[in-house]
Symmetry: C2
Subunit: 400 residues, 2 copies
DNA sequence: GCACTTTATTCGCGAAATGAATAAAACAAT
DNA sequence: ATTGTTTTATTCATTTCGCGAATAAAGTGC
């Protein structure tokens, strides 16, 4: 919101590059950020002074002939405490503990249905789960929490306006958790978190415009412009998964029909596959990875009805990507999430639909990537953002 | 492309606000831009020095009691030459001459079919038309030309990658016109130009995210973020009008079927209306305003078949706006262009479709405006952008 | 003519970034 | 050992930029 001062922005870029590329010497930082050695010296001096960074003693010389003054690598002090990243699924909570450098220290997942909880109860459960996780991992000094969930999330005000996971609307989740935990809590749409994590790993996705389509429990979109998340009017992400592509399609969790999600999400494929097989209705809302794999395997073995299902899903995926291409003209489109497990089955109809949907000049422009991303990236993305917020606060606190 | 220096960016903002809000005193500029008087004094001193601005002598005191030192208003010198703005339609060229302050000095339109011309011939015709227009209006000193056209336009490289108006693909239109005219030429997608012009007139549209949907000869989208045009991978705009909403809909000019345009554009409504009336096929590709008005009048009079036509079009418009809401979460959506003439006929099905298509939380967020905009805004938008480019060059030239 | 009000300019300061000079810390060679 | 070479890091003076405060300017009202 408040535009960062030049100093704060340089500071942020410096810490970002250190988190991404491990310990770096000052010259290396200068090269990567296009800064003069003088500026880097200046910035790092204050960061060392504040105890945020430390110099690395271990002069483990890199291979090859080494002349000149040896590099002194800088990295985060390990006395700055930890941050917890959380992802809430339908009946599952993923947790991750990272240190101030963003390195994974512990991760865990807890099976816990969240769908039918009252708002207060839900926040109690989340707070307890987070506290227990921190205690079990021996992390006494958790500075902040980042939480990613499906739905329409107002990151600035910390409100979940709508979510298929939560029953409530306009839930002030961040404030509720902050009260319970006594720590700052950042909440974020999960597709946005995924997009951010993917962009941290691939520099290509940090320049220009990148649209990340996450297919899994639902379908979400995370949009990056110059490596930063695009934020809409309520600083939320996109509810692209609930664009209705077909006038009278299958039922969607949002209450509508024919949404992108209602064809592509795991729950949709699973539901339709079970109808085909005349098996009993699923006991849980979200199918297990095993059962999804079983459906995919059955389709790969040649089951014609299931092949039809994936063919229709691929077509919807092609239409969806086509809309993104025509509307946003992105440099990169990344298809990610568990749904990519069936990309071989989706691809023929996906590419056909994309070809029909788009003008060739535009289609050839966007590089389409299928990234095999685990759900780990969700907590990684949101925890990195929470860390960045913390950097910002540290800078503020020092100034005061 | 090259990031503007702080000075250059402040300079641009100053000239922008002067073009928008007429002659202004230095204090007034400071208030509007949130700059200190000292900074404004500094900036205006150099601009006066360079002869870009002049002080206004006419001390025509505003009404009411006036005490204190009188304001000295600043404005553009009128010795800086002119800029021509052009819009190319199917069989029509719109022209506009503005001075360096952006004030309209002359405008004209020429009936001239452009569809079936070869690339070289087309550029000859355009160059001749522009030269003749400048000569007729007595503008001896035209500094630059801005041209808006439908289709997928690469503004940075000056290439029309694809356009329904032009036969050619990947036409280096800017370079071709620059060679013929000996002046810099800026080309731009026409919906982007319209969006820019609309945002110049309404400050609400210059903050946050504004999506401008232009309905007329075709359907185009111009996207503004913080008052500046969003540019995609090839720095073009969007081809949103060619998103295919219906699997097997009516034929579109792009070669596909079921595009948004194929329901909403004038040519589509006119074509279908004539089929209904069993009248002969139209002689021109683009119907006249009169014939469109006739169709609308007949529908308003209660013709059931025509009402169906507008009902279907409204539904598509609702779906289109819904996609924008769900994907981009804009602060403002502006529906503009000649197509708004039938907004009363479109509105019921438009609103119903929008309600079905969107999640209430998101829908309530975006303010939807219907702006009765004349085609004049097209040339206005592109000419203002060409002027801004010129400011930029002036700053560069002085520095050298 | 004098007080008052509003507008504009000047001046000095501080933040930020940089190039150039300098210092530091090693190894290599004699 | 001493000196030179090479690379890394810091210091310092300079420039750009914007701003607050003081000052000057240009009117009106009495």
């Amino acid at each position: 919101m408040i535009p960062l001062s030049p100093r704060e922005s340089a500071r942020r870029r410096l810490l970002d590059v250190l988190r991404r590329e491990g310990p770096l010497a000052r010259v290396e930082i200068g090269q990567r950020l296009g800064m003069s050695p003088a500026s880097v010296s200046d910035l790092t001096a204050s960061l060392l002074d504040e105890g945020i960074l430390v110099t690395e003693e271990s002069g483990e010389h890199a291979s090859g002939l080494l002349r000149g003054r040896p590099k002194v690598r800088l990295f985060f002090a390990d006395t700055l405490g930890f941050v917890v990243g959380v992802w809430t699924g339908f009946n599952r909570i993923e947790l991750r503990l990272v240190d101030s450098a963003g390195r994974n220290r512990a991760s865990r997942h807890v099976e816990r249905p969240l769908r039918n909880l009252e708002a207060e109860e839900l926040m109690d459960v989340l707070a307890e789960t987070i506290t227990a996780f921190a205690a079990e991992t021996g992390a006494s000094d958790v500075k902040a929490v980042g939480l990613a969930c499906q739905g329409y999330v107002d990151t600035r005000d910390g409100i979940v306006a709508w979510s298929p996971v939560l029953g409530a609307r306009d839930l002030p989740l961040a404030a509720g958790l902050e009260r319970r935990l006594g720590k700052p809590v950042l909440i974020e749409n999960d597709a946005s978190a995924m997009a951010f994590a993917i962009a941290q790993r691939n520099p290509d996705f940090r320049s220009g415009r990148t649209a990340c389509l996450m297919v899994g429990d639902g379908v979400g979109l995370g949009l990056l412009v110059q490596g930063e998340l695009y934020r809409g009017a309520r600083s939320g992400g996109s509810e692209f998964g609930h664009v209705r592509l077909r006038r009278s399609g299958p039922q969607c969790r949002c209450g509508g029909r024919g949404c992108i999600e209602a064809y592509l999400a795991d729950y949709a494929l699973h539901r339709d596959a079970q109808l085909i097989d005349h098996r009993p209705a699923p006991t849980t809302l979200i199918p297990s990875e095993d059962s999804m794999e079983a459906i995919v395997a059955q389709a790969r073995a040649g089951d014609p009805a299931l092949l039809n299902l994936f063919q229709a899903a691929g077509e919807v995926l092609g239409d969806a990507v086509g809309i993104l291409v025509q509307t946003l003209e992105p440099d990169h489109i990344v298809i990610c999430g568990p749904g990519t497990r069936a990309m071989d089955l989706l691809r023929p109809s996906f590419e056909a639909a994309l070809a029909i949907q788009t003008i060739p000049e535009l289609r050839d422009l966007a590089a389409i990537h299928v990234v095999d991303s685990s759900m780990d990236l969700l907590t990684e993305g949101v925890v990195m953002q929470a860390l960045r917020e913390l950097d910002f606060d540290l800078a503020r606190l020092k100034a005061a």
